[in-house]
Amino acid sequence: MCDRLPIAGDGESLRLTAKIVTNYYDRYAVTADGVSPMSLPGTPGGQYTADGLEHNVRGVPSSRATDHQSQLDKRRDKLLRYDYGPIWAEVEGDGEAAVLTWGSTAAPVREAAALARAQGLAVKVLVLRLLLPAQPARLARLLEGVRRVLVVEQSHSQQFYSYLKAHYTLPAAVRVLARPGPLSIRPAAVLAQLLQWR
């Protein structure tokens, strides 16, 4: 029914191209891994509409509750069952102190960690690249041996910390360095927090 093109591995994409064997094609068929083969325009019998409206397995917009439930389940399962591999987070160093951050604050955090290590403080840096679906088991493994976590984020309302609390179990000792723009968080600010908390 389908060819597996680039094979899904750690963080690799998975594309399934449908081979149409009958004149009936369910573009959004419910499959074990949530991924269903996609036909390419020009393929006889493979016609479907890619639709932002909720739809049935054929892609036809649908208001049936069963279609909504099954297609939402399919998309959720596709994301949950996919193995994102090691690229879900960037990990650097080790130690009882960890800095947890994401996005544009990653670079100043790394620089601060390097400066801290030069002063004898072992620091682990964890930069999340995948926010959802959350990976609580993986983060728990990365936080083994970590006694205090500094969360660094460029945000006024501590959105990243709120997200972390919603999806992860953090060590008891957590501090948050959160600041809104326009001034970016500098390595010196992160370093000061680390050194004050040793």
Partner: protein, 247 residues
Amino acid sequence: MQAALFRALAHLDLPPEHVTIISGIGCSSRLPAYTECYGFHGIHGRALPLATGLKLARPELTVIVASGDGDAFSIGGNHFLHACRRNVDLTCIIMDNEVYGMTKGQPSPTTASDWDSKLAPSGTHVRPLQPLAVALAAGAGFIARGFSGDPNGTARLLVEAIRHPGFALVHVLSPCVTYRPEEKLWKQQVHSIEMEPTAELAEAARRLFTDDGLSTGIFYRATLPPYPVTSQTRSDDLSVIEAEFVL
């Protein structure tokens, strides 16, 4: 409108798998899912860029855009201008009911300035857009108007539009019987321009600016060089397409 499109595609004997209908958002944009063609129900106002990308990647496909007056002239107004002048070989059907029907009756860019409604009491006081004149000024090479209540006549326009090499605009008067019930009168008011298409810009402009907005037919048809297709992508290989986007 759906009947007109089906008749046009049947007349041209186009295999449904070689036809792709791209739409934006709105009542008009539900069209792709009602066909047996390939379809893409995209995002508001962005049907033309989507269709442009598809046509350039897959020039052998017949690419049709289904849009409405809000989608094409307001949210996607800038795309509309540049699609006209870029002249990619597309057929752009714009179903115009002079109202945002799906969101319950807000005035659209083609709504008369004095149309009184709960959402715009005493009207918008803004002159309606003249989409065909705009298309002419922007460089479209095929400009026509049809009426959804005349599926055979509109089908004939669509056949000509699909055959036209380049960007072809078919503006279709499409009454919204829910929020603009007075548009039911279009059935009696619509009339043919009863003139052969012109390739003269000045004559086309004269026709469009002296038109009452309810005439149907081909106002302008000129042979302009279509946007060149340079894609070397093999149409059946997703990995090749993906590789083009690797940073």
